[in-house]
Symmetry: C2
């Protein structure tokens, strides 16, 4: 999402967030070193951007909510660190994942420390105590929803030979929890800490609901669009884990009998990861499901921006709209 | 710690905490099922007891802080769930550990959800927002210290042949982080949520500092005192993980040359777990280090109770003293 960072407004927010991440007080011990490694990898800082833009869109000041912007990045990075352990992914953003570099034990504990630290960070915001308590509640709930989505994800049955699988609807419900939750939490916490009304908080929450789903839908497409060297993770990871993702489930639902069989074969566990990936890619590209999936993600992004016009600060509301737009127009 | 539960005051607190744990709103999904399994195992509920007793000792009402009492149990249980994964312990409190029963992936995620949920629970306390924010900060810091202790623990070098090891002081520093942190967090958060003054919060924090260390010191002795069928975990676990614990390090520092060699041999990795454990037990019992270690733990517990007399509610302060006393007079 280099395009996003070249937008002057988002670039300035991202620079502030990155500076704050780099300037976290160092304790110099091993936990600190590992947390730094995890946090300072070249990520998109999308969730901090969402939090700051939501706060500014309701009239809040960036510097007052910056600690909470770090907090949502802690939560996101913690979930990535633990996810990589669970999936056995040794690469993340083009370099060794935390457990590949520091071992599983310390990777588990570092993720825990980031989750704990996020609430300390929220408490550091310059906002009334009532708003801080509300934000704590929102982010705890968002995190729990994220966890619920992760557990649900593992329960989704791939459409195997003769097995219909859990289907697209169950998948999208899971994605709404797994990715949507933190988008919602970031935007809602931002609006509350920024002094927004309940109605304004609801507007950014609805935005986040759709934007999060759009982001996840498009994220699922990327392995079939982009070069793994660019995305920084192997395109075959989901296929290797036999994960039925959005475009794959769409192809299975909308495709011809032959395409359906191709999907089932790819997710059956009989093929090696590379062959499974190539089979899926062939079905998705030639059958047209990939194109359909892109259109679906962009419709969801358009839904996200529908009500942003009611927010008082149009520049920041425009940044939210730009984020939704760029979420479904990126190459990594 | 059956003796603790037979004390009428602590039994009544424990019953309230257990009822609140059982009455958590059920979502009925898999994450909920796993969290219930983890939380409802027959633990001592020591940290909730500490939180409630600290709140009551400064004049607070039990029902107002009960959600925070659950919160510290969430944090403790989350750390046990993740610890068991790290140590490969398939037994906990006499039954299958969470990862042994539900798999590593869901055990990691359930621990995360408990850590997140704890902050939602703190926000549910009937206390002024400022006290809730202060308690959030205290518990986030306590959790981070616990994580720091876990990472430090893995770095402690066992005293091997020709290697002095990290020694007793480094071990006790780690124990103060790993176990002491959550004792401190529970007591301090309880005093703050119970409406205590800063000075009163400092008194219970100092109590917790010593009581936590005493508890960990005595916990380290238990595998050499008690029957594994009673403690609910194999007595050989620390020996199998080549962990130099308090009595072992004491024997190494205070023992004869032969005893020192025995310890080094047991922790060298050359013996099978059972043989290593038996070697350590023999050294500790016959050399007198076990007796010395018991005395050390009890001195630490006595230090804990020294200043409790200044707290206004003597019944609850007495419960704190009883907890410290029973922490070093138990058989499991």
């Amino acid at each position: 999402m280099t395009a996003l960072i070249s937008d002057p407004k988002s670039a300035s927010v991202a620079a502030d967030v990155r500076r704050a991440l780099e300037q976290r007080p160092a304790t110099g011990d091993r936990l600190d070193e590992i947390a730094r490694y995890a946090l300072l990898s070249p990520g998109k800082l999308l969730r901090p951007l969402l939090l700051v833009a939501s706060a500014e869109a309701v009239g809040g000041a960036r510097e007052d909510v910056l600690p909470a912007a770090l907090a949502v990045e802690y939560l996101h990075v913690a979930s990535l660190v633990h996810d990589d352990i669970i999936d056995g992914d040794d690469l993340r953003r083009g370099r060794a994942s935390v457990h590949a570099r520091y071992g599983v034990a310390d990777a588990i504990v570092t993720g825990d420390a980031l989750i704990l630290g996020l609430f300390g960070a929220v408490a550091d915001c310059a906002a009334p105590d009532a708003a801080v308590v509300a934000a704590v509640r929102v982010l705890a709930q968002a995190g729990e929803d994220l966890c619920r989505g992760q557990v649900q994800e593992a329960l989704l049955v791939p459409p195997g030979p003769g097995v219909p699988g859990s289907g697209l609807d169950a998948y999208l419900e899971m994605a709404s929890l797994k990715t949507g939750a933190l988008f919602r939490g970031a935007c809602r916490a931002g609006a509350l800490l920024g002094g927004g009304s309940a109605a304004q908080a609801d507007v950014v929450t609805a935005f986040a609901e759709h934007a999060g789903l759009a982001f996840q839908m498009y994220d699922d497409l990327l392995p079939f669009l982009a070069d793994p060297a660019v995305t920084g993770k192997p395109g075959t990871s989901d296929a290797a884990n036999l994960r039925p993702t959005y475009p794959v489930l769409l192809a299975h639902r909308e495709g011809t009998a032959a395409e359906r069989r191709g999907v089932e074969r790819a997710l059956s566990g009989e093929l090696r990861a590379e062959a499974a990936y190539e089979t899926l890619r062939e079905v998705l590209v030639s059958g047209g499901a990939l194109e359909l999936a892109v259109a679906g993600a962009r419709e969801e992004a358009a839904r996200a921006t529908a009500d942003l016009g009611v927010l008082p600060v149009t520049g920041a509301a425009g940044l939210l709209a730009a984020i939704a737009d760029l979420a479904v127009n990126r190459d990594h």
